[in-house]
Point group: C2
Chain length 455, copies 2
């Protein structure tokens, strides 16, 4: 499998939008708008026989009336018109297609979908979709989708479902998780997740791949591609259908094979795939893997300014298979030199409600430097004494003392800590809403590190 | 144990604040402000020898200079001055105390705390604290705390830790969870959680009790009180220290007994206590129990407009011990009368991305009326076609067709669905951020119902 066959799709120099519209509620409008907002660096050809100008772009009556070469055509017509549009694209010599139109196999119409596949193949084109949301490549500035609120970063996200793309993108925005690409492949009639995986393995801006996977048509091929990629790039999969009832639900809405679900977990583990079982877990795993170095062991050092959350964090770390060992006496002695002797210092170290930004920084730096701590988790419940922005800045400063060691925060009390979050996001320090979510994310980081060491 | 001895504390007609301050950064300012913002219906006596007026209230130089009776004195002085203040209160005949000052047993000073306890007892007073955040009773309009952003509702929350109060209150605001009371009891030197539990059992506005419990000094008494209350009022406990490492952490920061942790789970279950193991779980359980009726069985009916989240919900429900059975043929036939035949209707029923508010309402009403469904979970991922406010209103309308059956929503894609949330909160329909959290909350509701049926 060569990724060059996807070059015209993922690196088009010219894009036509067949079904471009001047109605802002229509996808045919939103896709053109996305391409422009994203500052696409090539030619854009909106196609619509009833329009002449859209966003100051010349609108063409048909694909054949475009004089230049077209690398990619995005088809957003109603299903009835899709086959004709594919023919027109084929005759014109268009190299690749995104068919966003729906109503094919996902709604029971296998016949039209097979015909679509046949024609695409006959013309030697490649196709993403049908029934998909397109793709965005942030580094290349290609927003070939109606989704355009995508921040740039290192995660490539693959999903059959456009709805799951919307959900995951929204959750990502809230935590500052940035994307290199997202790709919604819809019915995978031509290009499926296995081939996209292969492409992403050679996509430089991508440092992490996330995948929402309901069913896989070519499971063996997917696992083979995964095995090639995972030694270099972490791959996190959110795979529903873990229970019998879930399997049934998938069968009824995608017609995907049942029974296969049970064998996935083992095969995934072997292929180095990290499996998330909930949306929160998936986002948290992607967030931490996208910007933290891997730990050399599973020992967590915890800093808190309040006992309760500290204990919740210890519980959560332990339940996640991480160690929270008492700090060595030397380290405790160092803490004692600048903290009141009454502060619990065994791990967690509790710097108390009056713990200042300077104290936070000093203690964080000590743990980042300690050979007895592999990962650092910093908790804060702001009190009347706390300046959460200053504390966030202190953590950012501390991080510089050893950027090689994983460092995450858990700022508790949502509306009170909001002001500190942008500082952390800016510095790529992942913040989690609860101690449990922080611990769970560290578990994924540790699992990745352990798997690589075991190779 | 009689709750009348707590009347002066929780129903004071007059409150003195010893250590009132005109500095907005000080607790002595914030507590007076809270009482005023909360529109306390009795007398407020700020005490501070260096002030004469505060918020247009007369400030008294000392507690003895107040001519009238004082039911409750809130002491916010530095520790060194607390014992003298207690003596002054005792001589004056003050009935109850809240000591917010810290630095006692929690920081190793057992001697002063024992002396404090002795004097409070000698004067026949009752005391909340020391090292506590006070309490708020919303129905009675008593905001005897520096925490004043507490919405009224049915949950009474008890916590040793003031920090956990801040965390839980912030999380509650985000989801519209309202409070009848919150009580931070600090070191429990006089009044502990067991006695507060007893009081709350007779507190009419309270329909649900939540408790953050690190260690219990009087475990047997607590369980006895719980057993009396739980047949009438659900009691949810968030109890850290589930792991060995967590137990050690508690020991080092509260000095509470270790080893006892292991026996709690069983004793809690027997006493009808619902145990949450994470912050999210605690909030979700409280949210659903505070405003939903109990189900008559564990069968969940799921509505979605997108396959993926539907499958995630089925998985999560199954893993939570709930049943997601195929709908009976009669119900599917009813759906078929107004839905395209291609919509998967087996459970989940997937009304598709173009599912309108009217369709949402109709399907929700059918499930609320069906004898084959005990609880209804409605999912929505907004698409370009969706008006999330109108869909939220449709669910509120549907709910009226059978308010006796539990109904929850899961609106996915955070920033896109925000506009719909106030409508749901207003109608007391709990909304959850992910299918897993919704399913987990339904599990708590079902667990409560099953326990009551087993009695």
């Amino acid at each position: 499998m060569s990724s060059t066959s996807l070059t015209a799709l993922f690196h088009p120099k010219s894009i036509a939008i067949i079904g471009a519209s001047d109605n802002p509620d229509r996808i045919g409008y939103q896709v053109v708008q996305s391409l422009l907002l994203g500052e696409f660096n090539g030619q854009i050809y909106p196609i619509n026989p009833r329009l002449t100008v859209l966003f100051e772009l010349t609108v063409y009556p048909s694909i054949d009336s475009v004089a230049d070469e077209v690398d990619l055509a995005i088809i957003v017509l109603r299903k009835d018109h899709v086959l004709d549009a594919v023919d027109a694209c084929g005759r014109k010599g268009v190299k690749s297609l995104i068919v966003m139109s729906s109503g094919f196999s996902e709604l029971g119409d296998l016949t039209t979908e097979q015909e679509l596949a046949k024609r695409v193949k006959e013309y030697g084109m490649r196709m993403l979709g049908p029934n998909c949301a397109g793709f965005v490549a942030t580094t290349e500035r290609i927003y070939a989708s109606f989704e355009n609120r995508v921040h740039s970063g290192h995660l490539a996200f693959i999903s059959q479902s456009g709805a799951m793309c919307a959900v995951i993108l929204a959750m990502s925005r809230a935590v500052g998780l940035g994307y290199s690409m997202f790709i919604s492949y819809g019915n995978a009639t031509d290009i499926g997740p296995e081939e996209i995986l292969h492409y992403l393995g050679e996509h430089t801006p991508t440092k992490l791949i996330g995948c929402y996977l309901e069913g896989i048509k070519k499971a063996r091929q997917f696992l083979t591609e995964a095995q090639i990629i995972t030694p270099h790039i972490p791959l996190v999969v959110l795979k529903p259908g873990e229970t019998q009832a879930g399997t049934q639900a998938i069968r009824s809405h995608t017609g995907a094979m049942a029974g296969v679900q049970a064998v996935y977990a083992g095969a995934f583990r072997q292929a180095g795939i990290l499996q998330a079982s909930t949306l929160d877990e998936f986002i948290d795993a992607c967030l931490i893997l996208s910007n933290q170095k891997l730990p050399h062991g599973n020992r967590v050092g915890i800093i808190t300014n309040s006992g309760g959350p500290g204990v919740l964090a210890v519980d959560a770390c332990s339940q996640s298979g991480l160690e929270v060992n008492p700090f060595p006496i030397m380290l405790v002695q160092e803490f004692s030199s600048f903290l009141p002797p009454i502060c619990p210092m065994m791990n967690p170290i509790d710097i108390g409600p009056e713990g200042s930004p300077a104290i936070y920084q000093r203690v964080t730096e000590k743990l980042l430097k300690s050979p007895d701590v592999d990962m650092v988790l910093v908790l804060c419940v702001p009190t009347a004494f706390s300046d959460i922005v200053a504390i966030s800045e202190a953590i950012v400063q501390a991080e510089k003392s050893n950027p090689q060691k994983p460092l995450v925060t858990c700022w508790l009390a949502e509306d009170i800590i909001e002001a500190g979050i942008p500082t952390l996001i800016e510095a790529s320090i992942p913040n989690f809403a609860t101690p449990q979510r922080a611990a769970n994310a560290l578990r994924f980081l540790n699992q990745r590190a352990e798997w690589l060491r075991s190779k």
